[in-house]
Every structure is written in C-alpha cells, then in structure tokens.
C-alpha cells in the first residue's frame, strides 16, 4: 500500500511538469499588426504589449520584426523581449491596406490553427502603417484595449456590423458570402477613427465603403442592428431617429427565382427634432422619408455589390438554403443579373420626453 502511495504521489507530481505560464513572467501581446516588409521578407509584424504601471495606467510597448511565417516573427520578437511573448491574450489584429489587398488567406490559417487565440478578437484593416497606428498614445487603458473597445462599442451601439473573428471566419468560409472588416485610420497621435468598411472579394480587400454608408450596410448584413440616422423634411426641419431594433429578411420569389426582395423593418425613437412641434402628421412624414431613404441607399449598395461581383449580404448563401442542389459556379453569373428590390418599414415607437 505504501509503495502504491509513493507511486501515486510521483505520478501526480510528474504529470504536473508541464509548461507553466505565470502572468508576471510572460509578455502578453494584446494586439498585432501586419505591414509590408521593408526588406525582402514577406511581411513585418508589430506586437503591442502593455506594461501595467503602479498608478493603474498602462504603458504601451511595441516590438517589430520581419519574417515569412508568423512563427518566425514570434521568435524574432522574443529576441527583443525580456520575457516570452504569448499570443493567448490577443484582442486585436490589424492589416495594412496593401497587405489586405494581397489577400489575408495565409494569416487566417494561423488564427485557426493556434488554439490559444480566442475567437472574440477583432480584425481590422488600416489606412497607413499598423506600426504607426499601434505606436500612438490613445488613452490610459492602453492602445490595444482602446482600439478594440472602439470597435466593440461601435458594433454594439453604432453602425459597424458584427466582425469579430468568429463571425469573420463564419462568413469567410461560407460560400456565397464575402467578408468585410472595419477600416481604421490614425488621425493624430491621440485619436483613431473608424473611417469605413473594407469590403473583400474572397480573401482580397477590394474597396472601402465610406462611413456614411455603413449604417445602411449594417441594415443589410446584420440580423439585428442599432444605429442613428437623420432625415430632413420638406419644411427644412430635421429629425434624428435612433433605431432600437432592425431586422432584415431576404425573400426569394418562388415563381421567379431571379427576383429577390429584401424586407427591412426598423423600430426606432425620435431623439432630436428641429421643427416646431411633433404631430402625427410630421411623424408620418418622417417615417415615410426614412423608408424612402433606406430603400434608396440600400438598393444602391446592392447594385454596387452586383457590379463589383461581391456578395457581403450573403445572397448566395441565402439562395443555397432555398434551392436544393444549388450550384455555386452557375450562381456567379446569376448573381449579377438578379433583380433585387428593397422594401422598408419604419415604425416610430417613442418621441422622447417632450411633447
């Protein structure tokens, strides 16, 4: 029995001999950025770490190295770091525009293969070098948290569509759907801005959708979305409507599969009105105005996508669920000829605390 106990203790302690990762003894990379290489390597990577200061603030530190595969970069970065760099705490990954234009297929593989990386991290493309962007000084919470919080709250409340790694991968591997990422830009050393959405064709970035179209884009791609938009009425007054909930539904015409209608329902509150008094007539005018605006902007977007042969709305993926034995090859031609119409229904629920 004694021997058995000794064996048991040995077994327990020996199987405890695995690689430890103590928080104080590692360097957690919170963000990373990919830039084109200055030399002859494939790319240049910047890791952003944060050093926690005694006064609870965070000091940003970046390590930049070049390589052909990401692993090589990690080794290169470790040569510049006093403690091992780990990627498990990553919250953000940025791609410089030209890198994204060349295609981000190879980068995605790492993010799937390495199980230590979570799927809640954000991808984004940047205007200008990611190294420069990560080197700014945006706030006491640190640059990594600053930018990822910026994206996150704009997804939750603003007009940026859902784009964390989970939904990005879902769309990326979905046939009949193209991906998109927020596009961010450094304004100055203190500020960054989400300047638009980078739309992809396959794994290659195609063009940037300006930020004023983002809300309409979100209406088309997200199942539920919140957002803000303004309408100007004939009498010159303006109203700002906050959409609380919006849903969209794709509907294929059963008789004529080449015809698709998209229904967009928006429920919202009036937050601001510059005219004299809100009466039911004006509310109706606002509603109507909004509906027209949504329909006009959205149809424009869809037409634009058809012209550029990209499908961020996932119309192809939708058709696949409607038709048995769906053929994606044929679909590529059908997509551009598809006639789409958009019907929107706006409902104003509340008009605020004043009468």
């Amino acid at each position: 029995m004694k021997k058995f106990l000794i064996l048991l203790i040995m077994v327990i302690f020996l199987s405890g001999c695995v690689e430890k990762r103590i928080v104080d003894e590692i360097n957690i990379a919170i963000a990373s950025g990919f830039d084109p290489s200055d030399g002859d390597k494939k790319f240049k990577t910047t890791f952003l770490m944060q050093d926690f200061q005694e006064d609870m603030s965070v000091q940003n530190r970046t390590i930049t190295s070049e390589g052909d595969v990401r692993r090589e970069i990690l080794i290169g970065s470790n040569r510049q770091s006093p403690s091992p760099v780990v990627v498990g705490g990553m919250r953000l990954t940025l791609f410089e525009k030209s890198i994204a234009k060349k295609g981000i297929k190879d980068y995605i593989d790492t993010y799937q293969r390495d199980a230590t990386i979570g799927t809640r991290i954000f991808f984004a493309t940047t205007e200008g070098k990611t190294e420069e962007l990560l080197k700014g000084n945006y706030g006491p919470q640190g640059n990594g948290s600053f930018i990822s919080d910026l994206i996150e709250h704009n997804i939750r409340q603003g007009d940026v569509p859902k784009t964390n790694l989970a939904s990005f991968l879902q769309d990326y591997y979905q046939k009949g759907k193209d991906v998109y990422l927020p596009h961010i830009k450094k304004i100055n050393d203190k500020n960054v801005d989400i300047s638009g959405l980078m739309l992809f064709k396959g794994s290659k970035a195609l063009y940037i959708l300006p930020s004023d179209k983002m809300f309409y884009f979100k209406l088309l791609v997200d199942r539920y979305s919140k957002g803000e938009f303004t309408v100007s009425l004939e009498d010159g007054s303006e109203a700002s409507v906050h959409s609380i909930i919006s849903k969209h539904r794709l509907k294929m015409d059963k008789k004529d599969p080449l015809h698709l209608s998209i229904e967009i329902n928006i429920k919202g509150n009036i937050k601001e009105y510059t005219g004299n008094k809100l009466n039911p007539k004006i509310i109706e005018a606002i509603t109507k105005n909004l509906e027209e605006k949504v329909e006009k902007e959205c149809i424009q977007l869809v037409k634009e996508f058809q012209e550029k042969e990209i499908d961020p709305v996932g119309i192809g993926a939708y058709y696949k669920t409607q038709i048995r034995g769906f053929d994606y090859e044929k679909w590529k031609q059908t997509y551009t000829d598809l006639s789409v119409d958009i019907k929107s229904d706006v409902e104003i629920i509340e008009t605020g605390a004043t009468y």
Binding site: S15, E19, A115, R120, A166, S167, Q170, Y173, K175, R223
Partner: protein, 363 residues
C-alpha cells in the same frame, strides 16, 4: 464454478442504468463528431444522428432479448450459443475490445489537452495517473463505478448551458434546405456517427448486476433517447454557428464553440471545458476497465483486482507506441470499424443465433 452469480448487495437499482449508459456513451467523440458527419452528409448530418439513434434502439432491444433468454451477461450468451470453451475464447477477445476503447478515449483526450492547453504534457505519465485513479474506483466495486458515472454525467451537465453564448453568432437557416443529400450520404454519415454512440453494449456486461432487470429496460431506452436528442441538438447548434466550409476546418467543433463564451470572471472558457472533460471521460474509462477486468475474472478466473491492475499497467505502456496525432487518428479509425462491426454486425448476428439456439433447445 458459480462466479457469475452476483450477490444482491453488489447490485444496483434499475434506474441507474440510465446514468451508466449516458455516461459511457458521451465521451471524447462529442468534442468533434460534427465535422465528420458534415463531411459526408453536409448540414443534413443531424438526420444521420437520428438514424443512428434508431439503429441503437433496435440493437439495444436485441441485447435485452438475449440477456433475458439466457438470464446473464454476454459470456453466458456465448456459452448458450456456441458452448463453454469456444464461448470463453470469444469472450476473452472482448477484453482487447475494451482495452482498445480505453486507449482510444485516453489518447484522443490527451491529444486535446496537448493542443489546447499543455503542448508538452507527457502522454505516458498522464495515462498512468488516470489509470491509477480508475483502478482505485474499480477497487471500490461495481456500485462505486456506477456512482462515478452518475457524477460524471450530472456534474459537467452545466457546460451545455454555456453554449447559449453562441446564439448571438448563430444562423439557424444554414441547415436549410433539409434533405439536400442522398440517402447514401446520410447513411455514410450515420456510420461515422456510430463511434460517438457506442458504449451502450455495456448492457450485455452489467445485466446481471441490475436488480429487477426487466424494469431497467425503459431506463436504458430513455438513456439512448436522451443521448440521441443531445447529439442532434448539439449538431444543430454547431451547424448554426459554423458555416459549412469553416466546420470542415474545425477538428474539435464543440471546443471551438466555447471560444466565444465570455464571462466576467473567465476570459477563455474552453480551458475550463477541457479540464472538465476529465470528469466526462472518467466514467468511460472506469466502466470499460471494470468490464475488462470482469471479463478476465469470468473467462480465466483471475481475481478481478489483479485483472484491473494488469490492464491499468498495460495501457500506459501501449500509449508509448503512439507518438503523433496521425497515429492516434489511425487507431481511432480502426477502432471505429471494430466497434461498428461488434455492435451493429456481431450483436445482431449473435441475436439471431441465440433465437435459433432457443428454438432448438426447446424442441
């Protein structure tokens, strides 16, 4: 020689068969069966799960019929059909079957730990530690083993609730259109699903240990119904969360789904899930180890304790042979064929043979 007479004190209540079956069925397979069935039947794969579920019910009915006819376990069935010595030889082969079972579960689970948590975890030492624990449980007797399977199912059940977090990213229309695949595709996926379902053949071994076995039938069928529904439900959740191309790139889909879980006090939930899986495979191994050692006792009359220790010692040594993930994959594939052959081919044949033998003996 009356070693198959089980004293009343080591028998368990009929309803406990419910926990025994669920806990032995649910193992490492749950972590990644979705990709395999989707590979063959696409997002119609959930229908294949139901087909396999029905097949399992039928086989289970046969097993109960056989056990009732002979009023004993599979060794008695073998003796009934092909005589004493030949019966024992075949029964002895089943020891290898259950050892294979233990090996595949442990190797697959350790592979998961190595990829998700500790890349340099030693397979040998971990297996040895785990087998020591299981030996300890089996030394406690059958009732202890059943107790472990009860907790092995109840305690980790909360994990299911955490999958609610995936809803925000799920798109349930992805499983449309239903029946987009041929019957052949569906059946192929059903075949691949069988490895996740097996384990219920344990009925043929634990039957003598159940009080009023007649009453346990409904519990056994209920258990299979629950696992079938659970697998189907989980598959639909998975199909909604991953797009089809993405799922093909995801080896452990269930674990990957936990990557999205965010709680204020845990940043990465999948690590908790991996650690918790210990508790899920514990009854798997304990029950298999118990059955294997019982088989040793019944066939070559070695004391069950000795048999347990022998098997528990051999398993870690065999794991030394497996060095790469690919080898583990190969072993799993072979095991898949063997278990399918045993459960869905051999048992029905044995059933027919038993029924014929019964007729002959009556005349």
């Amino acid at each position: 020689m009356d070693s198959h007479v089980v004293p009343e004190t080591s028998k368990v209540s009929p309803f406990l068969l419910f926990y025994i079956i669920i806990s032995i069925q649910i193992g490492v397979g749950v972590l990644g069966y979705q990709r395999v069935i989707a590979e063959h039947a696409g997002y119609d794969g959930w229908i294949s799960i139901l087909i396999t579920g029905i097949a399992v019910h039928i086989v289970m009915w046969m097993m109960f019929k056989m056990a009732e006819t002979t009023d004993g376990d599979i060794i008695k069935v073998h003796q009934y059909v092909i005589g004493n010595i030949a019966g024992k030889i075949i029964s002895f082969l089943l020891i290898i079957y259950f050892m294979l079972y233990i090996l595949v579960i442990l190797l697959n689970y350790i592979q998961v730990i190595q990829i998700w948590m500790f890349p340099d975890l030693s397979t040998f030492w971990y297996t040895l530690a785990f087998m020591a624990l299981c030996t300890y449980v089996v030394f406690g007797g059958f009732r202890t083993v059943v107790g472990v399977s009860f907790f092995g199912m109840v305690l980790p059940a909360y994990l299911l609730i955490t999958l609610v977090f995936t809803f925000r990213y799920s798109n349930f229309t992805q499983i449309l259109p239903i029946l987009d695949h041929s019957l052949i595709d569906l059946l192929t996926a059903s075949y691949h699903m069988s490895l996740t379902f097996v384990g219920f053949e344990i009925i043929l071994f634990v039957y003598p240990f159940i009080k009023e076995p007649q009453k346990s039938k409904k519990w056994a069928h209920l258990a299979v119904l629950v696992t079938t529904l659970f697998y189907t439900f989980l598959a639909i959740l998975t199909f909604a969360y991953f797009s089809e191309g993405q799922l093909q790139k995801t080896v452990w889909a269930t674990l990957s789904m936990w990557q999205i879980v965010q709680l204020p006090f845990v940043e990465r939930f999948e690590y908790i899930a991996v650690a918790n899986w210990n508790l899920i495979i514990l009854p798997n191994i304990c029950l298999s180890l118990w059955v294997a050692s019982r088989l040793i006792k019944r066939t070559i009359h070695l004391k069950q304790r000795k048999g347990t220790v022998i098997i528990a010692a051999i398993i870690p040594l065999i794991t030394l042979l497996f060095k790469t993930g690919e080898q583990v994959q190969k072993l799993s594939e072979i095991t898949q064929k063997i278990t399918f052959g045993f459960v869905f081919v051999y048992i029905p044949l044995l059933f027919i043979a038993t029924m014929i033998a019964k007729r002959v003996k009556k005349q």
